[in-house]
Amino acid sequence: MPPTALILSQVFHGLVLGGMLALVGSGLTIILGTLGLVNFAHGALFTFAAYAGWIVYEQTGSYLVALVIGALLTCALGLAIERTLISRFYQRPHEDQILLTFGLGIVITEALRWQFGGVGKTMPVPELLSGALRVGPIIYPEYRLAVFGIAALALLGCYLLLYHSRLGLIVRAAIEDTVMVRMLGLRASRIRSMVFGLGVLAVGVAGVALGPIVSIYPDVGARFMVHSFVVVVIGGLGSFPGAILGGFVAGQIQTLTSIFDPAYSDLMLFLVMVIILAVRPRGLLGVEGRQ
């Protein structure tokens, strides 16, 4: 039987990891759930955000400025991509969308490699949060707790905006009945751009927030993209609350497996995903149609 301290540490870590995974997956699910677009450039945008945050931090020395500007720069890149390319693919089959976004992901990743090389960049943890917190037998990095807080705030903000605001109502209406929204004098294309921008903004916050935890190198987003898709599939394709639940489920699966052998944590994650898909093909909170 593993020591109690280890079990408690991993269960607690599962909660924090779940929050982080939910934040990374939320951008993907916002775009998928509202626009019906499968964004395979998600990992590359995460990487871009991490680099953007690192550059701003190097210039200003302020973590908060890096978080805000880095996320906004990522959002700006997302909007530029959406206006010039992705907007032409909303009516096209999913296969075309996947090819486009996959290609865009490669272009962004290789452009970053060309500009910054392959050596990982280090964004330091803010001095104020550089310690480790000890609660009983659990020792936990303060910065990871702060990221959990950032993730919770960002997710809450997205949820309120999409589901409890007038803007969110218009967004959902535009997705369900574009013609009617146009007749009411609203521009559907602008609304789509806003939704895409919001999704990329969530990825941007995740990329900058996780910058001090990961090594910032051109391929860092690839692995997060895989986990994001697992989170989204477990929670329910396109369901925003589902992404949050999926994140926490994935976090616990990973950490509880790790108590015995971390080498099997990914295997268990995929196994659970397969079981959920077999029992409930739409995922835990997924519903038919867009949300």
Binding site: P3, Q10, G118, A132, Y143, P218, S258, A263
Partner: protein
């Protein structure tokens, strides 16, 4: 019908007599010439060197978690070919008397392996088919090296492996056409263990972080083997995949293991990331850090604040250029060209080409079989590591193994003066006995 049959029989007899006469003629030729004619076609030889140039296929990881090391390696190859073609090694390497190799200019192509065997095999196969590559080289993953070694033997082309540390490369997966210069994980651990016993003491509990591929497993086995006699025990062994983005679950297990030494066997960006995250989990607070095969960009990425006091072995460190003219030329020209001091992947690339060029000149032929015979002869070669030679039984380079310690920031004399060379262990003292390697070297034919 009979007439035709007789005609056919006569033709067969005539062909048989021609064949017998040809063989008799061949047997009557002087030994060296006979051998040369009998071995006229060996893989890409002689087609690949019929013109004024010879082509070398370079495959390195330019994407993925080892991309920084791959790029460094590529720059090392580029400098080696530049020095070779411009005659800069003449006077430094006794065998080289003019520009190029055997009067031929060396051309090369570079391909990305993504640190995976399949793209590496595809890239080198392309070089062999399209460019008639006379030499294959480059790597940064033992799994890739093993795969390319098998390709080399199948295609009968020489492979001078790039960075690859797994014992299997010159052990159970050794290949007659493949040669390795980096110290194996066995050599690194054997060189390191006495220093660790002296500096960190005996009877320590050790937490291991092990990447799940051939390099990681042989590194773990070698460290356990050479530290057992010091009374070191395994507190926990955490096996992780290559390219892990978050090591937190592994590090929590390590933090709760009660270990007082953390041996990190991961590679490339994975190593920097896991050490960085280990620090945030408080793992490095009261725990000594050992990276048995010290990773090139670790200190540059994390800074001396983190790497001070760590222990490890490596192929080459730039301060070794002070006492060797070839190493000095390498470090000085690399720095002038790329504005940073070269790391050991670049050095492996650079030194491998010195050895190959010298062996070809000694053989007076690009014929892979003749070059292999020279490399297996055990005759020392002058390189940037000093006098070195390959052991014929497993194709491991017998070369010095530098043991390093991470300097404190206050000890550094320049921004990239991260490590102190604590000891240099002679290769013959670090290498495993041949009978322990499980290497069964195939035939040349």
């Amino acid at each position: 019908m009979n007439g035709n049959h007789d005609q056919g029989s006569r033709r067969q007899r005539r062909d048989l007599m021609k064949f017998a006469a040809l063989n008799a003629g061949l047997l009557a030729l002087p030994g060296g010439l006979r051998e040369a004619m009998a071995q006229a076609t060996v893989g890409p030889f002689p087609d690949g060197v019929k013109g004024d140039t010879a082509f070398v296929g370079v495959s390195v990881p330019l994407t993925g978690p080892f991309s920084a090391e791959g790029k460094d390696q590529q720059l090392g190859f580029e400098l080696a070919f530049e020095h070779l073609n411009s005659g800069k090694w003449v006077g430094l390497i006794p065998e080289l008397k003019a520009k190029g190799v055997l009067g031929k200019r060396i051309e090369f192509g570079v391909a990305d392996t993504e640190a995976k065997p399949e793209p590496a095999i595809q890239a080198q196969t392309r070089f062999l088919r399209n460019n008639k590559a006379i030499l294959m080289t480059g790597c940064y993953s033992s799994a890739v090296t093993v795969a390319l070694g098998k390709l080399a033997t199948r295609e009968k082309v020489l492979y001078m492996a790039g960075p690859a540390g797994s014992d299997d490369v010159t052990g159970k997966d050794c290949q007659r056409f493949s040669f390795r210069s980096q110290p194996s994980t066995y050599m690194a651990a054997k060189a390191l263990a006495p220093v660790l016993a002296e500096k960190l003491g005996k009877g320590r509990k050790v937490a291991y972080l092990v990447p799940d591929y051939t390099f990681g497993h042989t590194q773990f086995n070698a460290m356990v083997r050479f530290t057992e006699s010091m009374g070191w025990t395994v507190a926990t062994k955490q096996v992780c995949p290559i390219g892990t983005a978050d090591y937190s679950t592994y590090l929590l297990n390590i933090a709760n293991s009660g270990a007082d030494v953390f041996v990190n066997c991961t590679v490339g960006n994975d190593c920097s990331l896991s050490v960085k995250q280990a620090r945030t989990f408080g793992v490095l607070k009261n725990t000594a850090l050992v990276v048995p095969t010290l990773q090139p960009f670790l200190a540059q990425q994390l800074g001396a604040e983190v790497t001070q006091g760590l222990w490890g072995a490596m192929d080459f460190w730039w301060t070794m250029g002070a006492n060797n003219p070839i190493a000095k030329l390498f470090v000085d020209d690399f720095l002038a060209k790329h504005k940073y001091k070269p790391y050991w992947p670049a050095h492996i690339a650079y030194s491998q080409m010195q050895i190959w060029a010298a062996a070809v000149e000694r053989a007076r032929s690009f014929n892979p079989i003749e070059v292999i015979k020279q490399l297996e002869s055990g005759k020392p070669m002058t390189t940037s590591l000093g006098e070195v030679y390959y052991r014929a039984g497993d194709h491991q380079l017998i070369r010095p193994v530098p043991v390093m310690r991470g300097k404190k920031p206050s000890e550094m004399k320049s921004p990239d003066d991260y490590y102190e060379l604590v000891q240099t262990v002679p290769g013959k003292d670090a290498v495993p006995p041949l009978e322990e390697t499980n290497c069964k070297m195939g035939d040349l034919a």
